[in-house]
Amino acid sequence: MNERRYLFLDLDLCIGCRSCESACRSYFENEKRITINEIKPTVILSHACKHCEEPLCAAACPFNVIKRDEERNIVFQASFHCVGCKSCALACPFGVIENSLLNHVTQKCNLCYQNEQGPRCANSCATGALKFIKESEIEKVKVGVRYLSRSPYWRRV
């Protein structure tokens, strides 16, 4: 079994340029699966499906369309059977499944598992804040320990 990989956001590098959103939107025909949250006007962070261990969206789906693929470590949606009831969007505790329909189907991030290069959002990230990394590499990444500045919009988390 391949080592698990995670979509990882380095908060010290994210400048909210919306490059990830744009990459996702341009591939999935204007319906993005990654959202940008404005915490403060100057602190804008990207926000996508967490691919939970116990996904509530999958539990809420009345047609078992959303499933967890343990091998790839993703929660994916078999869009063909989706009826667009939006139960998953309501159940998601992070609000990352958009409550809008495209072709009568809700849109959910599947980490671009069909793309050999990996998730498009991570590949396109302008500052390298969004990474698609292996489980063993997570501890090596320094997050929130880099000093930033004296500005009132100090970003350490």
Binding site: C17, R18, A23, S26, T42, A126, T127, G128, L148, S151
Partner: protein
């Protein structure tokens, strides 16, 4: 799979375009900004222009490409050379620009102008003795001064700046902008001048650092006008003087200042021989102030001296009502464009579908019906049979120190006269974001951001039907989304300048 360079800014990031299941997709060769990522949408957008259009007093008719080229060559022969003007807008490759310039110069046309209206064109106006830097300088800089929304407009440059910042704790990051932009969260110090006073603040920093010698300007008066803490000015001037390997990085894309020419020139003065600073102006398109300015052409059109106008590139400048109201006095207009423009008010105007700079016959085929610049020129030359010679154009204009201070003095008197109006009426909202995704539009006398989310900006506005003389509306594809820009003509350079937003 075709390897291309992103056409949306001077960085020209490399990327590979591939066709996947009847649509275009990007294969990544490195990071890309939001605009670069939107490229596939543009390549196969059904909204693109595929047939030439003829607009006459609001009526639209489609024409064949041959018909329009035939009409254009006939007009080029009929009109006198001095009655013809050729414009070069954004989205033209450097080689295409040279081709167009040489072609029409060889034909004997002198009125070749730049119709690109974004303020970053003013980086071509150079202060005498400025030391110009490049992106490599970021990697060794010990002091970086960020002017404007560099992080928002050029995230790829932001990546390099942040890398430098995290590499070395002693690197200082200072910023100046009219609002707390995205870079402000990362800077050691960020200065936000009141709108309209940004030029005065730059002057004070220059004066405090003794980079310039001023005569006849009362410093105390300017300090009072700015209302900025003098300690902050002192701090900035001290850091500028102490920098051993400094860099001033400027983006003039978003926060539109009153006097972009002067703004750029003052910042370049920071980087003269008295300091160890280099100047790096971030451009979207490599635009140059060609032989004659857009403003002069408009004046010529008003006097009926210019009767035929041909524009290559995006032709977005012709959206501005003040521009196209004047264009109505032009007898015939030919514009190349990617999209059918809603220019209902125009008469005798032809739209030619133009391919994107990355679209070529042997790589990504041009969008159905569109032509590359080479193809258009070839077709025109089929009839005209011009012997094309190579012509070089001047790429910059040098400003002497005396001229800069002359401009500064006239700005100072303008500010004093209009202080109240500037403070009360002007708000910067005209932020250009990755296109299509974030748009400003007006509904029930409120400004909104983004069509879908309809985020209301707490900014009630009243839109007058009869707009004041200096105010223009840029109508986008959807009539509900409009952008409001005041446009002014720079008296000396005759350049059209888009200023901060006026809301009444």
């Amino acid at each position: 799979m075709v390897k291309v360079n992103c056409p949306f800014c001077f960085l020209n990031c490399p990327l590979t375009i591939k066709k996947e299941k009847f649509k275009f997709a990007i294969r990544y060769e490195g990071p890309l900004c939001a605009r670069g990522n939107a490229l596939p949408i543009l390549l196969d957008s059904p909204k693109r222009l595929s047939l030439p259009l003829f607009i006459n007093n609001g009526k639209k008719e489609t024409r064949s490409f041959k018909e329009v080229i035939k009409e254009l060559t006939k007009d080029l022969k009929t009109y006198k050379k001095e009655e013809i003007a050729i414009g070069l807008d954004a989205f033209l490759k450097e080689e295409d620009k040279k081709k167009i310039y040489s072609f029409f110069k060889s034909f004997g046309i002198e009125n070749i102008f730049s119709s690109y209206l974004e303020p970053d064109i003013f980086f071509s106006f150079k202060a005498n003795g400025v030391k110009e830097g490049d992106l490599e300088k970021i990697d060794k800089a010990d002091f970086i001064l960020i002017i404007g929304d560099v992080f928002g407009s050029f995230p790829i440059v932001a990546r390099r700046i942040l890398k430098r910042k995290y590499e070395d704790k002693n690197v200082l990051l200072y910023g100046i902008d009219l609002f707390r932009n995205r870079a402000s969260g990362f800077t050691n110090q960020f200065l936000v001048p009141k709108i309209g006073t940004e030029l005065l603040v730059l002057f004070l920093i220059l004066e405090k650092a003794q980079i310039i010698k001023t005569k006849g300007i009362k410093i105390e008066e300017i300090e009072n006008l700015c209302g900025i803490n003098p300690a902050l000015i002192e701090l900035y001037s001290e850091k500028i003087l102490n920098a051993k390997n400094g860099l001033v990085i400027v983006s003039l894309e978003n926060g539109k200042t009153f006097e972009p020419i002067l703004y750029s020139l003052l910042l370049q003065t920071f980087c003269n021989k008295k300091t160890n600073l280099y100047f790096l102006g971030l451009k979207n398109f490599n635009s140059i102030p060609l032989d004659i300015s857009f403003g002069e052409i408009l004046e010529k059109i008003e006097k009926r001296e210019t009767k035929l106008l041909v524009n290559f590139g995006n032709s977005i400048s012709f959206f501005y009502p003040q521009v196209y109201e004047k264009l109505n006095k032009c007898e015939k207009i030919y514009l190349t464009s990617f999209y059918p423009m809603p220019l209902a008010g125009l008469s005798s105007t032809y739209f030619l579908p133009q391919s994107l700079p990355i679209e070529e016959q042997n790589s990504i085929p041009p969008y159905s019906g569109s032509r590359t610049i080479s193809e258009i020129l070839e077709e025109i030359n089929f009839d005209l049979k011009i012997n094309i010679q190579d012509f070089e154009y001047s790429k910059e204009k040098i400003y002497k120190e005396k001229d800069i201070w002359e401009r500064f003095n006239s700005y100072l008197s303008f500010y004093k006269e209009n202080k109240e109006r500037i403070e009360n009426n002007l708000v910067v909202v005209g932020k250009r974001e990755p296109f299509y995704f974030l748009e400003i539009f007006e509904k029930d006398n409120y400004l909104y951001l983004n069509h879908k989310q309809e985020t209301k900006i707490s900014l009630p506005i009243k839109i007058k039907k009869e707009l004041p003389e200096n105010l223009g509306i840029l109508e986008l594809e959807n009539l509900a989304s409009r952008r409001y820009f005041p446009i002014s003509l720079d008296e000396k350079e005759k350049f059209i300048i888009i200023n901060p937003l006026i809301l009444e």
